[in-house]
Symmetry: C2
Subunit: 105 residues, 2 copies
């Protein structure tokens, strides 16, 4: 796992030990986080393509700017349910979501 991603996980609030015992995250948790990172990135991409601000997206999906920021950052406090529902609210299809998940960054 490269340093940049590790930094990103740590900042996002996931408790990542030092390099050696990184696997205090069990592997299935790691895969779940992988998915959240991918969907968070995708959410940001879709938002930017539409030239929307986080605040505009928040209104559209009935949430708040801070939560949108957290989704994009794959913060430990956001659920997959919320991210997916948000993507669907922005017009993304299940097909797109499947593609994004199936091809981890």
């Amino acid at each position: 796992m490269d340093a940049a991603k590790r930094r990103r996980l740590e900042t996002a609030g996931w408790r990542v030990g030092d390099t050696a015992d990184f696997l205090e995250l069990t592997s299935q948790e790691a895969e779940l986080i992988e998915v959240k990172l991918a969907l968070g990135d995708y959410l940001r991409q879709v938002r930017r393509e539409h030239r929307w601000t986080q605040t505009q997206v928040a209104e559209r999906i009935g949430s708040s700017q801070s939560r949108v920021a957290k989704m994009e950052a794959a913060d430990a406090s956001v659920s997959l349910d919320l991210v997916m529902k948000s993507l669907f609210s922005l017009g993304v299809t299940t097909r797109d979501v499947g593609r994004v998940i199936g091809r981890p960054a």
Copy 2:
């Protein structure tokens, strides 16, 4: 939407109005449920391929038989996070998950 699926959603605890105003479920909620149904079916499929009982799966993923049953039934009380984490615990890859989501039943 066909009758069988509707019955399934209702039994699973989703408040589905009568046929006409089915869309008291907003479309993004409907898509999310679509995803949960697909993953629930897939979980059951994987479990059966391994000839495991729900109880055995529960032990493996650190949960209970009842929750496994609810995941397979796409019960309204289960999160996507839980279903995905469970699938990963059973050895399914992100690629598989992506495929399942991308091809709604």
